[in-house]
Subunit: 182 residues, 2 copies
């Protein structure tokens, strides 16, 4: 089964999880169209539907984002663009005077089984730190506090035990094993 | 010819400009898919191409955004989402200590002539104000300084004389008159 992504780090992380379920994942390195607007689930579903016009075989994609409560869910579905422009420093500025620091990471997997698209999501709740800390991981990890430490202060093993991506993929792979008897 | 937009204010503004060129514009009120990623031109072009699979007749769409130099172009193509979440207050926070306050509004029109898509763009350069001022207009107008006043401190007539949207549509309509002999 193909994992369509242009991000090698993501592919490696997911391959590791798949291995535990005895599922073979191949990397199909390509960019694809993601629509604007709507929730993460809708974006992933629509992206997979459009992509299914080009790929005949089974495949899945993954989309994720950081959702900050005090910022009405910003940066949400546009987390990647926002990271590239204003970055962690920008999020910290926006949150400078905010009392409510609740935030979550969410990941959605959209799987095309050759006929239909199915989605699976995973979430991890935490807080936006007062300052960036740690050097592990990537993206918003240095400002995302989980149980007193930022994701960037954890080893990849510790983070992967609780991450949104891990949770979404475990749902997906368990479902595959049970429902699809793969 | 159809102007496809879900925004009535935009439709009225454009109808006014079209009238001066003796061009009849009808409102096709619908939402359509906009892709993520890329420049405004590419987004508008792709949106029009996808939409042309659903609409047989000639139509055009318009997409616009605010691009702030010190924020690497943010909020750019996602201006509408960013406005709904962090708003003008968010942009002012991000710009609190910024010396370089240069910014521009840009609009792109994508026109489907029944066969191909053509794009036309317009830009207006200004600065991000230190605080929001004025009550006219909408969106980022209260924080966009042009010649000493914000867009929200100008009458709609004054603003429309210099706006990015006006400039894009004038290019489009002049081209239509000359090249297409409409």
């Amino acid at each position: 089964m193909y994992f369509v992504t242009s991000n090698e780090g993501k592919y490696r992380e997911v391959k590791g999880i798949a291995n535990k379920y005895g599922i073979e994942v191949d990397w199909l390195k390509m960019e694809y169209l993601e629509p604007q607007g709507g929730e993460l689930e809708e974006i992933a579903r629509l992206s997979a539907e459009m992509l299914s016009e080009k790929i005949d075989e089974e495949f899945f994609i993954e989309d994720s984002g950081l959702f900050v409560e005090a910022l009405k869910g910003f940066p949400g579905p546009y987390s990647s663009y926002v990271f590239k422009t204003i970055g962690n420093e920008g999020i910290l500025k926006l949150m400078r005077d905010a009392e409510n620091r609740r935030a979550y990471f969410k990941a959605v997997v959209a799987y095309f089984d050759g006929k239909d698209v199915h989605t699976f999501s995973g979430k991890v709740e935490g807080e936006i730190a007062r300052e960036a800390k740690g050097t592990e991981g990537f993206g918003y990890d240095p400002i995302f506090l989980y149980n007193g430490r930022t994701f960037a202060e954890m080893t990849s093993e510790e983070k992967n035990r609780v991450s949104h991506r891990r949770r979404a993929f475990e749902k997906f792979f368990s479902w595959l094993k049970e429902v699809k008897k793969i």
